[in-house]
């Protein structure tokens, strides 16, 4: 019996102008339902590529990916993605952006009024009820990313995929959104896979941290069980020796075991 999300010997080779480039090789990972996994590694190590494989935006060159025992073939709304640069459609309002997703997933079986409720509930969950009818260019970067999260959550996906969702935000906004994401994931029990390069973010949010080696042919170097009690509070964690120990382990992996290869 394998995990809810099962990745078995996945390999990713890209055809480039300079010939074949092996981005990922021999990736094996099992994720339990409701687990929060972060993928961490130096830039260019293929963590986003791995996320795209799970999203179905890329097909693996070799190996297999299963979600609840079904092979992942192409993208689909049961694996919602929050993109790094939010990817909101600028001609739709916040409401319109989320509604587009809701309509696609639930439009066939539910009346319009219910779809509208779902959309509003999703935007309410990320605290954007006041911005329903604003366009993306009228709101801040943090708010855009919240709409992106609302759009993904509104689809009630089996797996929530986040590709460095807070990478472009300032530290304060980022902390606020991390807390919000923690609360939402605890409420919805979503199985979550998140790409990050922020050590604190990884330790704060994850059940397990998947640490990746440097490319080319990147693979999983080590997996760290976080095991800190939930709900977590960033202020209390700062005094927790376990937190610092975990943080130290991730840093050691990134800056001692992996840096030499990169240089």
């Amino acid at each position: 019996m394998h995990g809810y999300l099962h990745i078995d010997h996945a390999k990713m080779v890209f055809d480039t102008k300079k010939g074949k480039f092996t981005a990922l090789s021999d990736i094996n990972l099992d994720v339990k339902q409701g687990e929060f996994i972060t993928l961490i590694g130096h830039s260019g190590c293929g963590k986003s590529t791995l996320l795209n494989l799970v999203a179905g935006l890329n097909d693996p060159s070799d190996g297999v990916l299963l979600l609840s025992d079904k092979e992942i073939k192409g993208p689909g709304p049961e694996r919602a993605v929050v993109f790094q640069n939010h990817s909101l459609l600028p001609w739709l309002t916040c409401f319109g952006n989320v509604y587009l997703a809701v309509e696609r997933v639930f439009g066939a079986k539910e009346p319009k009024a219910r779809l509208k409720e779902r959309t509003e509930a999703a935007l309410d969950m990320v605290g954007l009820t006041h911005a329903l009818h604003q366009r993306p260019n009228e709101i801040s970067g943090g708010m855009k990313q919240r709409v992106g999260i609302a759009r993904a959550l509104a689809m009630e996906p089996k797996v929530l995929l986040l590709d460095e969702p807070f990478g472009a935000l300032d530290a304060l906004t980022r902390a606020g959104l991390q807390d919000e994401l923690m609360r939402i994931v605890e409420e919805t029990h979503a199985t979550t896979l998140m790409v990050t390069h922020d050590v604190d973010e990884a330790v704060l949010l994850s059940d397990r941290i998947v640490m990746m080696t440097n490319g080319p042919a990147a693979t999983i170097g080590d997996i760290l069980e976080v095991g800190l009690p939930r709900p977590r509070d960033r202020l209390k964690l700062a005094e927790n020796p376990g937190y610092h120990h975990l943080r130290g382990q991730v840093l050691e992996f990134l800056y001692q075991k992996q840096l030499r290869k990169a240089a």
Binding site: A55, W91, L100, A101, N137
Partner: protein, 302 residues
């Protein structure tokens, strides 16, 4: 001292360049207190701003009219008609724009409407064919490869070179001039639409893929809105070309229209009317452009 002089003059150059918002310089800001006495600082600032914005174009126009006057005066008896004479003639012309004395003697209003009508129809046909063609060419690489050499070959052809073909095929002048407008204004629409389609950001297409949107939804919610700004640019360029071409085409085909009217007035040696026609063509072209710019801004989301 010389360094200071140099700095001042280069600063003036920068201020006068069109990329720079004009700053209140000595010439306009100094007399302001005299012009606007105690009406409140906000009011006087607003009027001052308006004045600074309006002054350069007004001055330019005044110089233009002056130059025109000098050129016409220096020509003596057979020189170009001056501004005053042309103005008098224009007043007479526009006193009764919609008279109709048979096929070759119609009021200026009818001629303008005839030209606009032709441009509208030729350009409308071009849009009707060009927009879908542009979408297809932008979406399918293979089609783009097929069409590229044809477009590159035909696009630089002078619009009027198409007129004999139109006359031969349609045997009549009216469809022939529509054909000329159609064929010369279709290229900017096709090329800009295709460029817009191939430049739809991958992020938006990824959203569509993750949501598994239907082809129709992809078109209406993502492709079309994303291409619209490019499409509007194409339409604006096309409209410009169509309006350029119509005057030339009507000179050759005759009948009605502002182009025919210019040629007719040349045969009558009525040079004032030719000058008036040039202004009409310019003003209408400007208005068409401005309307399309307004519409285009409506669809700009950035």
């Amino acid at each position: 001292m010389s360094a200071v002089t140099f700095n001042e003059s280069s600063l003036k150059d920068i201020m006068n360049s069109p990329d720079t918002t004009p700053l209140p310089d000595a010439a306009t800001s100094a007399p302001r207190p005299a012009f606007f006495p105690p009406s409140g600082p906000a009011f006087s600032a607003a009027v001052g701003k308006l004045l600074r914005a309006a002054l350069p174009p007004l001055l330019g126009m005044a110089l233009f009219v002056l130059l025109w006057q000098i050129v016409s005066a220096s020509g003596g008896e057979h020189g170009l008609p001056g501004p005053a004479k042309t103005w008098e003639s224009a007043k007479l012309l526009f006193a009764d724009p919609f008279y109709d004395n048979g096929p070759n003697d119609k009021g200026i209003g009818w001629n303008i409407l005839a030209s606009l009508n032709r441009v509208g129809m030729g350009f409308g046909l071009a849009a009707l064919v060009g927009i879908p063609a542009g979408f297809m060419i932008g979406r399918f690489q293979f089609l783009s490869g097929m069409v590229a050499p044809i477009v590159s070959l035909l696009r630089p052809v002078s619009p009027l070179a198409w007129l004999p073909i139109g006359l031969y095929v349609f045997k009549e002048t009216e469809p022939a001039s529509l054909w000329v407008i159609f064929i010369s204004s279709i290229w900017p629409i096709i090329l800009n639409t295709a460029a817009g389609v191939s430049r739809v950001p991958q992020d938006y297409l990824n959203v569509a893929r993750v949501l598994n949107l239907s082809e129709w939804k992809i078109f209406t919610r993502i492709l079309f809105p994303s291409v619209l700004p490019h499409l509007m640019t194409g339409i604006r360029l096309s409209m410009g070309v169509a309006w350029l071409v119509i005057v030339a085409a009507e000179m050759l085909t005759g009948g009605t229209g502002i182009g025919f009217w210019v040629w007719d007035e040349w045969n009558n040696l009525n040079v004032e009317h030719i000058l008036i026609a040039i202004f009409i063509v310019g003003i209408i072209g400007l208005l068409l452009e401005q309307v399309l710019v307004l519409i285009a801004n409506r669809f700009n989301y950035e």
